[in-house]
Amino acid sequence: MKRVALRRATDQTAKHITAAVSAATSLLVVFIALVLLVRSWPIFVTRPLSELLFSTTWKPLQSAFGYYPFIMGTLWVTCVAMVIAVPICLLVSIYLAEYASRRVYAMVKPLIDVSAGIPSVIFGIWGVIMVVPLVQKLAASSIGRSLSRLPLFEVHNPTGYSVLAGGIVLAVMVFPVIISVAEEVIRAVPTGLREASWALGATRWQTIKYVVLRHAAPGVLAAIVLGFSRAFGETMAVIMVVGNVPRVPRSLFDAAYPLTALIANSYGEMMSIPLYDAALLGAALLLLVIVLLFNLGARLVLMRMIRYR
């Protein structure tokens, strides 16, 4: 009798504990957002949002807090990374899922999965010793000088610490994230669907292009969003290679200062400056909101696309 009661009590306790932990975990993001909102409140009430978002001056000592250079820094670096990463990842995923022999797949897939776990500081180091010098050489070369005449490619900054270096490092970081998901999504397309296309006389490539990728599109998009979020929020690797100059970049060779780098570099120092704390936490809130909005948007697109499966 006693043992039954004890067992029942244990069962109930287990249920309540797991429920409580689950609730706490899912509420964490709300909690974090609330803390950020409360702590950054002073900066949002003392100046209009448009000034915060679009002013290019960041001079904490003069109480000027414009996020614009940092927002643009984040956007530039992330976009360059995605422009590099998406086509490459798509090609690799298609190759692995559609063409690679079992042997090649068995060798390559674990490599890609493992590289998803490499700490970002290692990518940062790799960026400093390999990518930055490469960009520096490119900027100084005759190719760089010819490119320099094109918009978005002007060389004002010969150091190599640049948007391009940050974009390359981030692209390499998101490769495994995008590839491992996209490859599995493409592989999961039913064989019968491929056969339906082949049986109509379509080539392998036509089948991939018109049928397989279309069927897999929502999942591939999800993979890209995952990669984008990773690139967008990445801090360590980026800090090490982008130069951290708070000015709006105009060219791939310019230095940049992304939001993540701003927060990580500045938070905890000179916190006696009025409103400095609120301004930095405001930047963090901004980052959070942008990522959430992006994920929401992607979800909506996904829902529309799933209709066609």
């Binding site: 019968g192 339906a196 082949w198 049986a199 018109y210 279309r214 066609y308």
Partner: protein, 253 residues
Amino acid sequence: MDERPHIEIQNLSVWYGEQRALKDISVAFPARGITAVIGPSGCGKTTLLKSINRLLETSDNVRISGRILLDGADIYAPGVDVTEIRTRVGLLASKPFPLPMSIYDNVLYGPRIHGLCRRDNADAIVERYLRAADLWEEVRERLQTPAHALSTGQQQRLCLARALAVEPEVLLCDEPTAALDPISAQRIEDLLRGLKRHMTIVLVTHILRQARRLADYVVFLWLGELVEAGPAEQVFNNPLSERTRAYLMGDIG
């Protein structure tokens, strides 16, 4: 039949890895009419069918030996364009797989792939083949909706329309009514009966009554071997082989 056979299979053997799925099959399919391939499941019916449009070779670990002549020319000869063979030999699979696009685009998929579709004939092509598959009246108002929203029976008729739109001379049907309700199955049977006047149909089925209803010729497979082939009347009423008789009586299989 005094015409030359449309499809001639000569000494066809197929292995999946070490397992031999077809053993030295030689059989001819007459032009036009329906040839039913019957036999218990696992006897190699699908394998035989997929060897005729060279879909077999898309899975790895398959080995094929022998010849298959289509209008007298070996489709496995070196230099033969696989896509051309698959254009001439259409397939209706046992489970409908609508392509991930609209009803309209499903029908036009083949013609577009082969560059036969222009702006001014697209609508006509769609209507023509949807009518041929007896689907036009049901979908004419919603051609631009996704094909997967159709019922399974409608999807199978869409797959038929899609196959017909590339104007194949042979239609391979692999248990085309297996996934369907009786009424949808009936409609597919009626369509096949109408199509056999213009094309050679190879119908794989494990439903004996369906074979009796539709077949002009019958091929009986057993464990990867050809047991008997001949006009339907003869095979059903007067089988040469004891095993065919036993299968038809329901004693084996």
